[in-house]
């Protein structure tokens, strides 16, 4: 504020205090991140550790915040400004702009730029017919074989979530190899019970009776892989194998952040968040792919079903309500996807 005594600028004490407090919090966060990085380098696993800040997140209207972020990033920039904005984004989040299919001036908004396609040949597809490729650019968080009955995936050390909660209770999730062995040794045939009428192909995938028809065929195990996409990564999703997508399930959920800190502090992160699950069959049996949204990247677009809209405003969100499900061509083979085909994209907001 101006004054006649010559003070041309005055910052109120409260503002100074707020800036100092935010600076201290940021410094503390950087210190914590450095400690985590050092621990990881020493081979120490991150452990689940709920905290008050994570609890506070559940009171925030994260879906509304996400949609507002989407609105902000949809604002079109003047052409002269676009390269500056996208270069700044690329510097901040380590994106490779040389891979973008179009000149930067042609991306009207940050949201448009975020789901950019890549130049031809930037992502060669592994041509080995026996391999399963990564559907996205990202960081491998977890992978392995699901061996226990009621298969669980570890979120971090000390906390796991069930695969059926992630994919849906009506999922056609087959039995693990261990369960198959138990069945062969005289255990109860769970897949042939009340659900017989519901899944003709669940039986064909899981039942050892069917497998016994061809004794040369190998025993099937159930595997998983979790890949995290950072904000600077290419955000389109591709098909990992040649497969037939039979069912799509949309879980309208929360939109917690999905970063490392959230993973350590929020229970059931992947099971609570909004997500789209595709289920189907590939040459080796069952295949499912779950795309999970976050606060900044809240909506998931499916190119195989353009009418699907996620992260919609709703008056009241009941997390117990069942997912919205669509069966693709119930009498046919569903939607056939080739390895490397574009399936969908994560959108901002």
């Amino acid at each position: 504020r101006g004054s006649s005594q010559g003070n041309s600028f005055f910052v109120p004490g409260a503002t100074v205090g707020t800036v100092l407090m935010l600076g201290a919090l940021h410094a503390r966060r950087l210190y914590d991140d450095k400690k985590i990085e050092e621990a990881r380098e020493k081979g120490i696993e991150l452990e689940f550790h709920p905290d008050v800040k994570a609890t506070f997140l559940s009171f925030l209207p994260l879906r509304t915040i996400s949609r507002f972020w989407g609105f902000l990033t949809s604002v079109e920039y003047p052409i002269w400004l676009r390269p500056h904005v996208y270069n700044a984004w690329a510097r901040a989040f380590h994106s490779n702009l040389e891979e973008a299919a179009l000149p930067l001036e042609e991306y009207a908004s940050l949201r448009h730029f975020f789901v950019r396609t890549l130049k031809e040949g930037c992502r060669p597809i592994d041509s080995d017919p026996c391999c399963l490729i990564s559907p996205v650019d990202g960081t491998v968080l977890r992978f392995g074989e699901l061996k226990e009955a009621g298969a669980m995936i570890e979120q971090v050390k000390g906390f796991s979530y069930s695969v059926s909660s992630l994919l849906g209770a009506k999922s056609f999730l087959p039995m693990t190899a261990c369960e198959n062995i138990q069945q062969e040794s005289g255990g109860e045939d769970k897949s042939m019970g009340d659900e017989t009428q519901k899944s003709w192909w669940r039986v064909s995938l899981a039942s050892p009776k069917v497998r016994a028809i061809s004794p040369e065929s190998p025993m099937k195990g159930l595997f998983y892989c979790v890949i995290y996409l950072k904000p600077g990564d290419y955000h389109r999703i591709h098909s990992p194998v040649d497969w037939n997508v039979l069912v799509r399930r949309h879980f309208s959920g929360r939109l917690y952040p999905l970063n490392e800190r959230a993973m350590r502090t929020i229970r059931n992160l992947y099971v609570e968040n909004e997500r789209v699950v595709l289920e189907g069959q590939w040459q080796e049996g069952y295949m499912a792919m779950a795309a999970i949204g976050a606060t900044n990247i809240g909506s998931i677009e499916l190119f195989v079903e353009p009418t699907l809209h996620t992260n919609r405003p709703r008056k009241k969100l009941l997390h117990s309500e069942p997912p919205e499900e669509r069966v693709y061509e119930p009498e046919g083979n569903g939607i056939m996807l080739k390895k490397g085909d574009e399936v969908g994209a994560f959108n901002m907001g």
Binding site: L132, T139, P174, P218, M219, R236, L258, A288
Partner: protein, 40 residues
């Protein structure tokens, strides 16, 4: 955002001359790009 894949694959074969176990070819923390093999 995160993607989770869940899939069936062979774990053992009755035919010992043609082993067909599925093996991941990645490590935890690896950066991977679309189109690169996760496993064979």
């Amino acid at each position: 955002s995160t993607v989770v894949l869940v899939f069936q694959a062979p774990v053992s074969s009755a035919n010992e001359r043609m082993p067909s176990d599925f093996k991941f070819c990645i490590e935890r923390g690896d950066r991977i790009r679309m189109g690169e093999a996760l496993g064979r």
